[in-house]
Symmetry: C2
Subunit: 202 residues, 2 copies
Amino acid sequence: MSSVTVDQATQSRAQRQAQTREKLIEVAREMFLTDGYAASSLDKVAVAAGFSKGAVYSNFSGKEELCMAVLDSIHEEQIEGVLNAFAGDGDLDSRIDAFTAWAREGIGQPRWTALEVEFAAVARRSPYVATELAKRHREVTAAIAELVRRVTAEAGIALPMSAEQAAVGLLGMGIGLGAMRSLDASIDVDVFAAMMRAVLRP
Amino acid sequence: MSSVTVDQATQSRAQRQAQTREKLIEVAREMFLTDGYAASSLDKVAVAAGFSKGAVYSNFSGKEELCMAVLDSIHEEQIEGVLNAFAGDGDLDSRIDAFTAWAREGIGQPRWTALEVEFAAVARRSPYVATELAKRHREVTAAIAELVRRVTAEAGIALPMSAEQAAVGLLGMGIGLGAMRSLDASIDVDVFAAMMRAVLRP
DNA sequence: ACGTTTCGGATACTATCGGTATCTGTAACG
DNA sequence: CGTTACAGATACCGATAGTATCCGAAACGT
C-alpha cells in the first residue's frame, strides 16, 4: 500500500514538473526559432510560458541546457522526416523528389538551421555544449551514412567517395544552405536536390 | 599654400584616426576569430588595442559595424586565395588539388566560418547586418558562379545544373562544413574536394 | 488527522556588456 | 594666440544570465 501511495505521490509531483518542463521547451522552441538564441531571454521564455525565471533554473542547468532540449525535440522530427522521405519504394529520383518536397516546408524554413549554427558558435566557449553537440553530430552523421549506403546499394550506384564522406558533405551542405537561406530567402531549395543528384548519379 | 597646410592638417589628423581604426580591426579580428562574436566584448577589444571603448564608437557605429569591417578584411584574403588556387593553368584535377591545399590551412581552420555563421545569426534582428551580409553574399556567389563557368568551360564539362546553382551549393557546403569542423575537428577537408569532384565530373 | 519535511517555483540581487551622453585635451585654423 | 572641432576617455543606463534565498503546497511518518 505504502508503495502505491508513494508512487502516486512522486508521480503527481514529478508529473507536474514534467509538464512545466515540456511547456518551457515548447515555448522556448518557438522563441528560439523565431528570434534566435541570443535574442531570446530566459525571462521572456519563462513569462511567456506562464512561469518565472526560477522555474527555468529549476528544470534546466541554464540557457544552454534548455536550448539542447529544444534542439533534441526538433531533431526528433527532422530525423523522422528524412527517413520517411526515403522510406518510399520508388526509384532514387522519386525519393529525392519526396525528400525535396518535405524539405521545402521542413528544412526549407531555415529557422532551425539558423538556430543550429548560432548555437554551434556557443560551443566554442562552452565545453558542455561542445560535447553534447559533437555527440549528436556523430549520431546524425552515422545515420545519414547508413541511409546513403542503403540508397546507393538499392540503386546500384558506386559512390566516388565513402558513404561517411558523402554523409558529412550532404549534411554540411544542408546546414550551410539553410544558414544562407536565412540571409537570402531567394535561394532555392532545389539547389540541394540538384547537388544531391549530381553526387548520387551512376 | 593654404590648401597644402589644410591637406597636411587633415591628413595628419585623419591618418592617426585611420591608424586607430586599423588597429581596432586587427585586434578585433583576432579576438572575434578566437573567442567568437558574442564572447568578445567591445571593452576587451578596445583595451587590448590600447584604447578605451570610446575609440570604438568614435570609429564604428557599434559592434556590428566593427564586425563587418573585420569580415571584409578576412574576405579580401579569402577571395584572393580562391582565385589564386584556380589561377594555375593545369587541368581541373590539379586545380582542385591546389584549392584543397590552400583550403587546408585557410578555410581548414574553421575559425572564420564559425564567425561568419555566428554573425549571420545577428542578421535576423539587425536590418543593417542583414542588408550588408546579403550584399556581400550576392557578390561572392556571382564571383564563384563566374569561376565555375570558366573552369567547366575550359575543362569541357557540362554541369547538370546552372553555374549559379553550383556556386550556391558549393559555397553553402563550404560554410556548412566549416561550421561543422568547428564542432568536430576530425572532419576532413578532403570531403569538400571529393564533393567538388563528384559535382564537376564530366 | 496532524506536524514535519521536501522541493518546485518565485523573488531579489549581482556582474557583465552594448550603447549613450557628456566631457576633455589637443590639433587645426583664422 | 585665441577659438573651434573632433578623437578619444569617462560615467552612466538598461538588459540579461546566473546565484542565493525564500515561500507554500504537496508528500510522508506517526
